[in-house]
Symmetry: C2
Subunit: 321 residues, 2 copies
């Protein structure tokens, strides 16, 4: 089915020149007479000959590939697809392409690193979903492989030793809480994720920081809308008059609990569809910064210390608060 690959020999035959002449036209055109050059170029065009990139890659030792895991969509209320679109765009502008893989957990992701390195030699990895005890980053760091995480290295002293880009969840929930304070609310509840989630604890901390007294108006959930609704009922019964939520999924449930203002996090398509006020991550910017960090790593002199980039989310005000 596939056509035979066009070789330099085919081009030489068509142009009635030697293979060396074809090679000269491609690599050192100044050595070749204009007329011959034209004939070779025409043959290259007619035959659709392509410079052997595998050979070029052998010379440069660069694959120009960035590897990233495509995340499970779960309930679909996430924004990874926007990050991935931004990453693909920014990478292309910097001369890189994104190669995808899937993985169920850290162990299988590390096994996939190994596979990818063996078969495709990506120049760098972009890791998402950082968490406490993340063994992926140490695996890559030990092998001195280039990578950036979208997400902080939770639990590492001084922000960790590797480059990362993240969005300041605490700044986001603090802004949400101040928005509700500005509307006159004083008893503002928080619906979060289980303890031990770096992202969840970060988002919780902004809410707590913005209040003189949290009044213990907080509940942890598994992140589902069902538990969000139950938690909201409890908090409203305990006197909460407005709710800040760790995610749009939880907020979606909270909205069922009663007519109190609710703010979600992530500005998912669901938030836009139902009029949910929510915090929006600057995902295109985050993706561009990830690519920037990697190109600095791959192409510039060694940075003195790893890049750490923390971006601010913005509050998108809609119907619910």
């Amino acid at each position: 089915m596939m056509p035979e690959k066009v070789t330099i020999a085919d081009v030489a035959r068509r142009a009635s020149v030697s293979r060396q002449t074809v090679s000269n036209v491609l690599n050192s055109p100044d050595l070749v007479r204009e007329e011959t050059r034209e004939r070779v170029r025409q043959a290259v065009e007619e035959l659709g000959y392509r410079v052997n990139q595998a050979a070029r890659r052998m010379r440069t030792g660069r694959s120009r590939l960035l590897a990233v895991r495509i995340e499970q969509t779960q309930d679909g209320m996430n924004v990874f697809d926007r990050f991935l679109h931004g990453l693909t765009d920014s990478a292309a502008k910097a001369g890189y392409r994104v190669i995808l893989y899937t993985a169920d957990d850290d162990r299988s992701e590390i096994a996939t690193f190994d596979d990818l390195l063996g078969a495709y030699e990506p120049d760098a990895f972009v890791l998402t979903g950082t968490h406490y005890g993340d063994v992926r980053t140490s695996w890559l760091a030990e092998r001195e492989l280039a990578f950036v995480t979208f997400g902080r290295p939770w639990g590492m002293p001084e922000g960790g030793a590797h480059p990362w880009v993240d969005v300041d969840g605490a700044a986001g929930t603090a802004a949400a809480t101040r928005h509700l304070l500005g509307a006159g609310h004083r008893r503002i509840g928080f619906i979060g994720w289980p303890e031990g989630s770096g992202v969840g604890d970060d988002r919780r901390s902004g809410w707590a920081r913005a209040l003189d007294d949290t009044g213990a108006l907080e509940r942890r959930t598994d992140g589902s809308a069902a538990e969000g609704e139950a938690a909201a009922r409890e908090l409203i019964a305990a006197g909460a008059t407005a709710l800040v939520c760790v995610s749009d999924s939880v907020a979606l449930g909270a909205l069922q609990a009663g007519p109190v203002p609710v703010i979600g996090f992530d500005d998912t398509p669901v938030a836009a569809a139902i009029g949910l006020t929510s915090l929006s991550q600057p995902l295109s910017d985050a993706a561009a910064r990830c690519v920037g960090v990697l190109t600095r790593l791959l192409e510039d002199d060694s940075p003195d210390k790893p890049d750490h980039v923390l971006l601010e989310p913005s509050l998108v005000i809609r119907r619910t608060a």
Copy 2:
């Protein structure tokens, strides 16, 4: 920053053997004594030496890459991320990886084909978003490049000359309409997309087919929720007692128009969040079939005729119908 690449010479030095011996261990281990083999393997392990895949690629002429465009998310009410996840999974099982690109229109996509072929030599392309007058497929076909489209070649005689995988939208809206007929409705409206959309016309045709008489209860929209709501009001005023919609976005708007049963299309996360009955595309299956079509093209004998695979969507019944 990046460590020096480990070469065969490094391995040879560490194992105190010749480069030829290292090469033999890697390529023809039977030629080498067990003890020497062990010593070389240990050096390979210690140094983290990797077989030069670029060299292997030069020999096989295969990149093991499938290129696919990552689509704009627009209002986020689409399901491309699920297709892409399935494609990445299925490709990995077949020994391929997915490489991403973005493009704004057919012309820029074709320019990107050219870039990708020059720099990465993908073995095949997976095209999405097929439409009338699609110039991408003829560009690839003329160059005898391997590709499959997820989406039919709208407007081509006899289903087109290239391989495709698609979901039977007409079967889906027919099932939705029969579901409403079964609930006793007789005046069932359809809210669609502008004329000239292959997908939109296909979805419309299933609704029309399931009814003896459509009663002209149809409106076309730009696909937004706002126009969906306006169209629904008109159809309800014209006597419609239930609505079949071309998309979840349109259905979301239609739900605002009044308390009539509404069915969407695509089973987006928004449908799940708001309890919208909708048609679900078998996206993992479609992605797996795309990979299957391509592996047949790339690895098997020439098929007599291109693979055409049409899959059935399923009706996910929720609150709204």
